[in-house]
């Protein structure tokens, strides 16, 4: 199998561009699970200003999720918007800067080396700017606008903010100019990152892909604007509240608004799935069903932390809530779609020229579906143990769960490797 650096076609960028981001993301997912298991005892004592926690968090957010999303968007955006990627060369420049920046940032978090954090963070921000320019120019030439595009525009806006905030926080570690507002900026960084960049991207892509792959008679549209409005309102409200009174009640109110938006999204997806023509449930849908449980759990836990007695809000429980959000909600949504994206990438590169000339495999024949379902089961079990252990203050249970998820990530990596060994 050859990797083409140039080439690509009108709607499809060169194979190596999305593929490189996806592989980088996959490696970091493995490292994240190892780091979480090893660092968990220290997270339950303190998670802010904890070098292990910072490293682990950014292995997940930057190393895994952001890499995967960027790689996937290079593949998906030109197709979804029926246009061509504005610049493949800029994409490779983005890749080089991003990987270098993240490679500097991650050990710098562990070493708590402020100047290296600033350096790595600057490279990452610069790479994000290149990505945003490329996506922006691509979107500008879109022939077709639909609700998925608006979700994407919003998520790219939040990406710019979260990257900028990340750099500000890095500078602050060296110069301390944020003072007491440091915590507020950190929370904003998390809210914009998870709520804005991750969640809106996931919702926008799901709105487009799930009806397509299920061949559903029901096309979402009626409530899509409500979902977009409510989720943005929740994110915006949380941010402004942080800068204002930071009232717990207002915080809870905006979280509830976000929760309603998410519930409407899931209602629409249920309608899509109920009216599908394909009888088998796509893997991405099965992973999404599990993810749905976890986002609702994570938001509920967040509301409990906000509204409950102060003594409930222990570092362990905060970590548990964030883990539910990250490994419960975001990771399955990403992994479920990777079971589409990886095979499709390889199929278009290796088999598309042969269709009609010789027998070629179906996408689902390129990987072991049974293994994927087992991975989902292990991941779910592991996440249940972690969250239950952290909220029930039983650390051994949480550690066992984290290692179970390490097994899931290794199996996932192996499963993806077998796709490319064909």
């Amino acid at each position: 199998m050859s990797l083409s650096m140039g080439g690509g076609t009108a709607k499809r960028p060169a194979f190596a561009l999305p593929f490189s981001f996806l592989i980088f993301g996959l490696i970091n997912f493995l490292l994240f699970n190892a780091a979480f298991g090893l660092g968990l005892p220290s997270f339950t004592v303190a998670w802010m200003h904890n070098p292990s926690a910072l490293l682990t968090t950014h292995l997940f957010t930057l190393g895994f999720v952001t890499s995967i999303i960027m790689g996937a968007l290079y593949q998906l955006v030109p197709v979804i918007l029926e246009t061509t990627l504005w610049s493949t060369r800029l994409g490779f420049a983005h890749l080089a800067l991003y990987v270098t920046g993240v490679a500097i940032l991650l050990p710098a978090f562990k070493a708590f080396a402020a100047l290296w954090l600033v350096g790595g963070g600057s490279l990452v921000l610069l790479s994000v700017i290149l990505f945003l320019v490329n996506m922006g120019m691509t979107i500008k030439n879109a022939r077709r606008w639909h609700h998925g595009a608006y979700f994407l525009l919003c998520s790219l806006f939040y990406l710019a903010i979260v990257a900028f905030l990340g750099l500000v926080l890095s500078f602050n570690l060296e110069y301390g100019f944020l003072g007491s507002s440091y915590r507020g900026h950190l929370v904003m960084h998390v809210v914009v990152g998870f709520g804005g960049w991750f969640t809106l991207t996931i919702l926008g892509v799901a709105y487009r892909l799930i009806p397509m792959f299920t061949l559903s008679h029901h096309q979402p549209g009626r409530y899509t604007w409500a979902v977009l409005t409510l989720t943005n309102l929740a994110i915006g409200g949380l941010i402004f509240n942080l800068h204002g009174s930071d009232s717990p009640l207002i915080r809870a109110g905006f979280m509830a608004i976000g929760l309603i938006g998410i519930l409407i999204f899931f209602y629409e997806m249920v309608q899509v799935i109920r009216k599908r023509i394909r009888s088998d449930l796509d893997l991405s849908v099965r992973f999404a069903a599990v993810a749905a449980f976890w986002i609702l759990t994570a938001l509920t836990l967040a509301l409990l932390l906000i509204l409950g007695p102060a003594q409930w809000s222990t570092p362990a429980r905060v970590v548990g809530m964030l883990y539910a959000m990250a490994v419960g909600w975001v990771a399955p949504m990403i992994i479920g779609h990777l079971y589409k994206i990886f095979p499709f990438l390889l199929w278009t590169e290796k088999y598309a020229p042969k269709v009609g000339k010789e027998k070629v495999p179906l996408l689902r024949e390129m990987f072991d579906t049974g293994l994927a379902v087992r991975i989902l089961g292990i991941l779910t079990a592991g996440t249940i143990l972690v969250v239950t252990g952290l909220w029930g203050t039983w650390l051994p249970l949480a550690i066992a769960g984290s290692w179970l998820n390490m097994v899931a990530s290794l199996l996932f990596g192996w499963g993806i490797a077998t796709i490319f060994r064909r």
Partner: protein, 102 residues
């Protein structure tokens, strides 16, 4: 000389890699015309959605299949978006395949 029915039959070799159903039974082939004593074929097709990631490979595959027919020297596949495809265009055979019968 190749007939339109034979050309249509040949196109059932082109399978949508995501759905596992051929493009004829998916209802993606709108029209097939055979010209000049069977040496030239025009097929008009669509895809399940304009966003379909296979918008380049499926028409090319259809051309490859048509060109492999005996006596065919030229084949052209035109991709159209009107009328838009919808699931009701799937044939009973296609529906059976999608619902798990093979």
């Amino acid at each position: 000389m190749v007939s339109e029915a034979e050309a249509l039959e040949a196109l059932t070799q082109v399978i949508d890699p995501e759905l596992g159903v051929d493009i004829v039974n998916l209802g993606l082939i709108y029209e097939v015309q055979v010209f000049e004593d069977g040496s030239s074929i025009l097929a008009i097709m669509t895809l399940t959605t304009p966003s379909c990631p296979l918008s380049e490979s499926m028409p090319r595959a259809a051309e490859n299949v048509l060109l492999s027919l005996p006596g065919v020297k030229a084949a052209k596949v035109e991709l159209v978006w009107s009328p838009p495809w919808d699931p009701s265009m799937i044939s009973p055979v296609g529906r059976m395949q999608l619902s798990g019968g093979r």
